[in-house]
């Protein structure tokens, strides 16, 4: 006689383990909301109006455990003000993927801001991002810097990104800050864009018009430290592959950067003549 009890018990255990009947993986239901707004509310008063220090990373995709491990390393960094993630915190734009990244980042002792990446905008990802993080374009002022974080995923938004009018307005009024820092997913110098949209020419005009201290972007595989019209352009590289993140220091409009992983950091100044040396995290 085949006993029913073990099967029933196993199934009941399974049901209780799942704890829910998730109706669809394609939905936008998330258990946290407006995390970028929450992050801006958590910002502390800068230690110095002129000098700030933040971590930047991007393209973590499905490396949720590695992101969680990086958070532990980031939490040991002294005098850190906040973290910015330059997008692609998911692979398929699924709500569950978003929530795993949010879960990993929730361990940070400093606020974290997340920009939307192109992978975050497929499937139902746009709705998930809006619910979980808030508007696609947002800004916050910290000390002498205004961080202008914007959606640059032209292909996924059918030319609706970047919102040029919003960007111009944000940069025209720095709200008392001296410098702007652009944080976005695509490389403004060479974005993936709809034919004829000429986003790069638009960004170029912004650089030549407004006091922009730094561009931070993701999307491309390799870490790269460059300049575009004398403005430092920090390409973060794909965290999923490298497990690396950057510590960026801004002081009087000057930029220095340390490339870090779980084992330590490699200091690289954006002033080319400065030498490179090893420092502990």
């Amino acid at each position: 006689m085949f006993s029913l009890a073990p099967w029933l018990a196993a199934f009941a255990t399974g049901l209780s383990l799942t704890g829910c009947m998730t109706p669809t993986p394609f939905g936008s239901d998330v258990d946290q909301h407006e995390l970028n707004t929450t992050a801006s509310q958590r910002l502390k008063t800068p230690r110095s109006a002129d000098s700030i220090r933040f971590v930047a990373l991007g393209d973590s995709h499905d490396a949720y455990d590695e992101l969680w491990e990086a958070v532990a390393v980031i939490n040991r960094i002294a005098d850190l003000d906040f973290v910015v993630h330059a997008g692609d915190i998911s692979d398929y734009g699924l709500a569950q993927e978003y929530q795993w990244s949010a879960r990993a980042l929730s361990g940070l002792r400093v606020p974290a801001f997340v920009v939307i990446g192109n992978h975050d905008a497929i499937s139902n990802g746009k709705a998930v991002y809006r619910d979980l993080y808030g508007p696609f374009d947002f800004s916050f002022r910290y000390g002498a810097y205004k961080f202008v974080c914007f959606n640059s995923n032209s292909l996924e938004f059918d030319g609706g990104a970047p919102d040029r009018a919003w960007l111009e307005t944000q940069l025209a009024d720095l709200q008392g800050a001296e410098w702007a820092v652009l944080v976005t997913h695509q490389n403004p110098e060479a974005p993936d864009e709809l034919a004829g949209s000429e986003d790069s020419a638009f960004y170029e005009r912004l650089l030549l018009t407004y006091p922009i201290a730094l561009i931070v972007h993701g999307h491309l595989d390799d870490f790269e430290l460059g300049e575009w019209h004398q403005v430092p352009n920090l390409q973060l590289g794909t965290f999923r592959k490298t497990h690396e993140f950057s510590i960026v220091s801004l002081s009087s409009g000057q930029v220095s950067e340390e490339l870090c992983d779980a084992n330590g950091c490699l200091s690289q100044s954006l002033e080319r003549e400065t030498s490179t040396d090893e420092t502990p995290p």
């Binding site: 085949f2 029913l4 099967w7 029933l8 199934f11 399974g14 049901l15 383990l17 799942t18 704890g19 829910c20 009947m21 998730t22 109706p23 669809t24 993986p25 394609f26 939905g27 936008s28 239901d29 499905d62 490396a63 949720y64 455990d65 992101l67 969680w68 491990e69 692979d91 398929y92 734009g93 699924l94 709500a95 569950q96 993927e97 929530q99 795993w100 879960r103 990993a104 992978h119 905008a121 497929i122 499937s123 139902n124 990802g125 746009k126 292909l155 996924e156 993936d192 709809l194």
Partner: protein, 201 residues
């Protein structure tokens, strides 16, 4: 020791399969397919299991219900994280069943499927505006499920069985993420339970 245990498990499985076959052979005689080959062999109502909050489906049960092939349409209302429409194509193997006193018990079955949805940002082949290999297909995901079912077998009428079933379902990308990220993910993140009613005709 391990070999002896494996042989015992194999023997038990063979015995169960044989018993299941015997159950089928001794089931009350009825026309093989009284409604004709084009009328589905069963219809389903379901909730959960990644298929939708409200799901309806139909399917065929060839080889005396050993296999079930079904398509389910599911809907998730906007208030519950939608509005999402989906189609779930499933192939189920039901090797174990035990009947007694008008009740049939399927203690375990398993299946694979394709869970598909549609919308502006879903595609099987990325639109032309994207570079080659920019994205993998995201409109369909492979799925897998296991379940149990309890059927009541009426003596007369059109219905051959009224079944209540419960299943656990997962999809490809989530279960892969689960195994690759054991620290951040949890079983409840990647498995969705469902309950349903199955009317066999």
């Amino acid at each position: 020791m391990r070999r002896r245990l494996s042989l015992r498990i194999l023997a038990a499985l063979l015995a169960m399969t044989t018993a299941a076959g015997a159950e089928r052979r001794t089931a009350p005689a009825s026309p093989t397919d009284p409604l004709g080959p084009w009328v589905p062999d069963f219809a389903k109502l379901q909730s959960g299991g990644f298929s939708g909050t409200f799901t309806v489906g139909v399917g065929y049960a060839p080889l005396h219900d050993l296999l079930n092939v079904a398509v389910l349409y599911g809907y998730v209302p906007a208030a519950l994280g939608g509005s999402v429409h989906s189609l779930h194509f499933t192939l189920q193997v039901r090797p174990l069943s035990f009947s007694s006193h008008g009740v049939r018990w399927l203690p375990a079955y398993a299946g694979l499927g394709a869970l598909c949805t549609w919308g502006a940002d879903y595609f099987l082949v990325p639109p032309d505006r994207y570079p080659d290999d920019y994205y993998p297909p995201n409109a369909c995901h492979a799925s897998a499920h296991v379940g149990v079912e309890l059927q009541w077998l009426p003596r007369r009428g059109l219905a051959r069985a009224h079944g209540l079933y419960a299943e656990l379902t997962t999809i490809d990308t989530l279960i892969i993420d689960y195994f690759q990220n054991p620290r951040v993910t949890a079983p409840a993140d990647v498995i969705s339970s469902s309950i349903g009613y199955r009317l066999a005709l």
